[in-house]
Symmetry: C2
Subunit: 465 residues, 2 copies
C-alpha cells in the first residue's frame, strides 16, 4: 500500500532528512498500522514515524507542528472506538520501539516504563520482581501501557484496584509543539501544585503523547479464591455484593455478573461445561486476592455460607483448583468466540450507578424486544464498577437500524445519568453520543483545554471532541 | 473590624443590591474569616459572601467577574499554607451555608453533598447509613468537603483508601465567569471524554469553586486490629511494611512511623504512658480494617508473629480493647500538644519514594544538626505513602534562619525527586519552593490552564502559582 502524496510533502522531506528512512516509513506501509480492533475504516497516512526515545519523538512532533501536520498516535492498536486508526493524510506516530522497562522498585512500589511497553510484558516483569501491576484486560498481550494510560483502561480488577488512572503515579508527555513535559512523580502523595498528569490520563491523546509512565505496584497476592454463584435476580446480586465486600473488607478482586443469556451463549460458543447443576437467572463470578491462602480460603467459604443461609444466593461452586478457576473464567473470557459466532454484533460498554444496573438491563432489554424481537442480546458486566456490557447479536447493518439500536440503549443510560463509554473511550465511533453523558459546559471546557494545549489541532484530530 | 472601602465599591453595591445585607456582609467582618490554621497574616476583605446554593454562588461570581473583582474561597479554614486567608480588597466567598448532605446511596456507594458540609458530619451521616467515607484527617471537626477536594486532602488512611481524589466520583464547580460546570458522575468508570473533575481536585480553588461533590463510599469495616511495633531502623520498617501488606493483602489501613524523638516528645507533651517495655529507635503504629473480626484478629497476630520470628520487628503490643487502640493513637494524634509546647515550630510535610524515606530522614537530620545543633527535630510520617513529617521545634523567627532551615529540608527532597508538599498544598506559604518539585514546563502549563479558565485571574489570586 502506498502513502498518499508522501513524496510531494515538505513535512515528510524534513522528517526523512532528520531521522532517515528507517524511522520515517514514507514508502509502503504495513497494513497493521491502518486499523485497530474496532474495525473502523480509516485513510492512508503520509508516513509512519517510529521514534526510539522521547527526544526523537519530541523533535518529530516539533517538525510536524512547524508544518501544521496532523498526527495520530498508535499504541498496540487494540482500541474499540477507532481512535488510533489513521485519517487520510495524517502522520502516524507509533510507540512500538519505545518499549523499554526502565526500572522496577519493589520497595517503593513503582515501575518506570516507556509508553510502548506491552502490558503483559510489564505485568510479567513486575511479577518476576515480586510485585503486582494491577492493570489487566483481555488485550494484555498486544495493548501498550501508553494506550492504557491515554484511554484510562478498565478491566476486571477495577473493583479492587481502580482504573489505570489509579495505577499511574507519574507521566512524561510530549505536547503538540514538541515540548517534553516531565511529571515523573513516584509518590502516592504529592500536592505541590496542580496534578497535571490527570489532564492526560484518559484524554485519548488529544492533549499530548504519553511517552513514559511511573506505574504504582501492589503486593503480589499469595493466593486467589474463586467461586461461581447463582442468584435469582439483580437485586440479590446487589445484596450479595454488599455482603461480600463487607465480609472480605477490600479483598473482592472481581465481581462479574452474567445474565443467563450471556452464560448460555458463552458456554455454547466455547463448548464449555454448564458450571452448576441447576439453571438460574443470574450468575456472578467472584474472586478474592489474598495473603494467607489457608485461612483466607476459610473466610471466603464462610462468606458464601452466610450468603446461602441468608437466601441471597441460590447455589455456589468454589474452585478447588487452578483448573476449576480457569474453567469459571473461561465463561467470562469467552466473549471473543461469542462475537465471532454472532457477528456482526453491536457491543455496548455503558455505566450507570451500581444500584440502577438491574433497572438499566430490564429497560434496555424491553426497548430491544419491543422493536427488534428477533435480535438476541447478551448482558454481563463489572457490577461493582457500575459497568454493564450488552452485546446485540447479528445486527442489521444499515445505518438507520444501527443508530436506532444505539439510541435504544443510550437513551436509558442518559436518563439514568450514566456513561455511554465506561471503559472504551470515545474515539471516532462514539463522538455522536458524547453529549448523552456530558453537558454542553463540559464539552465546551474540553474544547477550551484542547485549544489551550494544541491550538493548531494537530494531535489526534477529530477524535473525542 | 471594618472592611476596606466597602462603601465606595460598585461591585459591593451590585452584590448587596442583588442579594441583600445578610448574604453580603459588607460591614464589620467576623475575625474568623481573616485567618486559617497556618497563622499567615492577610488583609481586610471588601465583603464576605455567604451563598445558600450553587445558583446564588454562580450569580455572585458572575457579578465579581463583571467587575474584575478578586475572590478568595473559604471552607473550614483549617488549611496550613494560607490559601484561604483573604488578601487586602478581596471578596471572601464562604461556603459555610452550603452544608447540606443531599443524599446517601449505600447500594451505589455514593454520597452527594454540598461543598460546605463539614467532613465529620458527612462521615457520621454515612456511618449511620451503613457506609464508610474514607477521607479522614485531624481537622475533621472543622474542615469542609469542598476544601478537602480543592486541596486533595490526605490523612492517615491513604495507604489503604487513597487521597481525597480517589473518593471523588463527581463534582460541580462554578467557574471564574459564573458558569456552573456539572460533572456529577456517580460511577467508578466513566471514560466518556476527558475526566474534567481532576482539573479541579487539588487545584486549591484557582481554576474554579467546588460547590457540590459526589463522594465514593466503602463498606463499613466490622472491626479494626491495631498494634504498636518497635523496630531497629527504617530498613526494618520497610521490610515489615512489605510483609504486612502482602500478608494482609490490601487491609493495612494505617502504617504510621514515629522515630524515637517524636514518640518521646509526644508521650511527654500529652502525659501518656510509654507504650512498650523497652526503648527503641523506631516505632510503627499499624492497623487493619477488617470484615470478620474474630478470624481477622488471628490473621493480624499471625502476621506479627512471623515478623518477630523473622527478626524484622523487635517488639509488638496488640491492642486488646478500643481503649488500648486509642492509647496508641493518642501518641500519633498528640502532635497538637507538641506544637503548642515547642512553639514556634516549623512543620514540614514532604514526600519522597517510599524506599528513600529513611535516607531522607538521615540526611535532613544531619543538615539540621550540622548548622543548628541546639534545635530539636521530630520525625514521623505515613510511610506507605512516602510521606514524611518533620517538626523543627522552637525555631528562630528571623526570615534568614527560617529560609535556611527550609532549604536544609527541601534541598534533600529535591535531590530525591520528592515533593515539598505531600498533603498540605502550596497556597501562599510554599510558593517559593514549588519549583523544587515541579519543572518549568509543569509550572508553565499550570499558568496556561489558569489563563484558559480564569483569564482575569480573579479566583484565589496569588495562591499556588
Amino acid at each position: 500500500m502506498s502513502h498518499a502524496n508522501a513524496a510531494a510533502s515538505p513535512v515528510i522531506d524534513a522528517l526523512v532528512a532528520a531521522f532517515g528512512a528507517d524511522e520515517v516509513l514514507a514508502g509502503d506501509a504495513s497494513p497493521r498500522h491502518l486499523k485497530d480492533w474496532s474495525g473502523v475504516a480509516g485513510g492512508v497516512p503520509l508516513a509512519i514515524l517510529r521514534p526510539r526515545n522521547t527526544d526523537e519523538l519530541s523533535r518529530m512532533v516539533a517538525i510536524c507542528h512547524a508544518h501544521g501536520q496532523r498526527v495520530v498516535v498508535q499504541g498496540g492498536l487494540t482500541g474499540l472506538v477507532g481512535g488510533a486508526v489513521p485519517g487520510e493524510g495524517e502522520v502516524v506516530v507509533s510507540l512500538e520501539r519505545m518499549n523499554r522497562i526502565e526500572s522496577i522498585d519493589v520497595d517503593s512500589g513503582t515501575a518506570t516504563v516507556q509508553a510502548g511497553a506491552v502490558l503483559q510484558a510489564v505485568q510479567d516483569a513486575c511479577r518476576d520482581a515480586g510485585a503486582l501491576l494491577t492493570v489487566d484486560l483481555g488485550a494484555r498481550g498486544s495493548c501498550q501501557i501508553g494506550g492504557n494510560v491515554a484511554t484510562n483502561a478498565g478491566g476486571n480488577r477495577v473493583i479492587r484496584y481502580g482504573n489505570t488512572r489509579e495505577s499511574v503515579l507519574g507521566l512524561e508527555v510530549v505536547l503538540a509543539d514538541g515540548t517534553v513535559l516531565s511529571m515523573m512523580n513516584r509518590m502516592a502523595k504529592n500536592n505541590a501544585g496542580m496534578d497535571l498528569k490527570h489532564l492526560f490520563i484518559g484524554s485519548e491523546g488529544v492533549l499530548g503523547i504519553v511517552t513514559r509512565v511511573v506505574l504504582r505496584l501492589q503486593p503480589l497476592p499469595r493466593g486467589t479464591s474463586t467461586a461461581l454463584v447463582a442468584l435469582q435476580d439483580y437485586t440479590a446480586a446487589l445484596r450479595f455484593l454488599r455482603h461480600a465486600q463487607q465480609s472480605l473488607s477490600g479483598q473482592v478482586s472481581a465481581f462479574e455478573i452474567m445474565w443467563r443469556d450471556y452464560l448460555e451463549t458463552a458456554v455454547e460458543a466455547n463448548r464449555l461445561r454448564w458450571p452448576l447443576a441447576g439453571d438460574y437467572p443470574v450468575y456472578v463470578l467472584i474472586d478474592m486476592h489474598c495473603g494467607q491462602p489457608e485461612t483466607d480460603g476459610q473466610r471466603f467459604e464462610a462468606m458464601l455460607e452466610q450468603a446461602i443461609e441468608a437466601g441471597w444466593i441460590l447455589d455456589a461452586a468454589i474452585a478447588q483448583s487452578v483448573a476449576d478457576a480457569e474453567a469459571f473464567w473461561a465463561i467470562r473470557d469467552g466473549i471473543a468466540e461469542v462475537l465471532r459466532d454472532y457477528a456482526p454484533t453491536l457491543n455496548f460498554d455503558v455505566s450507570v450507578p451500581v444500584a440502577d444496573i438491574g433497572d438499566c438491563a430490564v429497560r434496555v432489554r424491553a426497548n430491544l424486544e419491543r422493536d427488534w424481537p428477533q435480535l438476541r442480546a447478551l448482558f454481563f458486566g463489572h457490577v461493582g464498577d457500575g459497568n454493564l456490557h450488552v452485546v446485540v447479536c447479528r445486527v442489521p447493518q444499515d445505518a438507520d437500524s444501527l443508530h436506532r439500536i444505539e439510541d435504544a440503549v443510550y437513551s436509558v443510560v442518559r436518563e439514568q445519568g450514566g456513561s455511554v463509554s465506561a471503559e472504551h473511550g470515545i474515539g471516532r465511533l462514539k463522538k455522536d453520543w458524547l453529549h448523552y453523558s456530558r453537558s454542553e459546559a463540559e464539552i465546551a471546557l474540553m474544547r477550551t483545554l484542547k485549544t489551550a494545549l494544541d491550538p493548531q489541532g494537530i494531535l489526534n484530530p477529530g477524535r473525542m471532541i
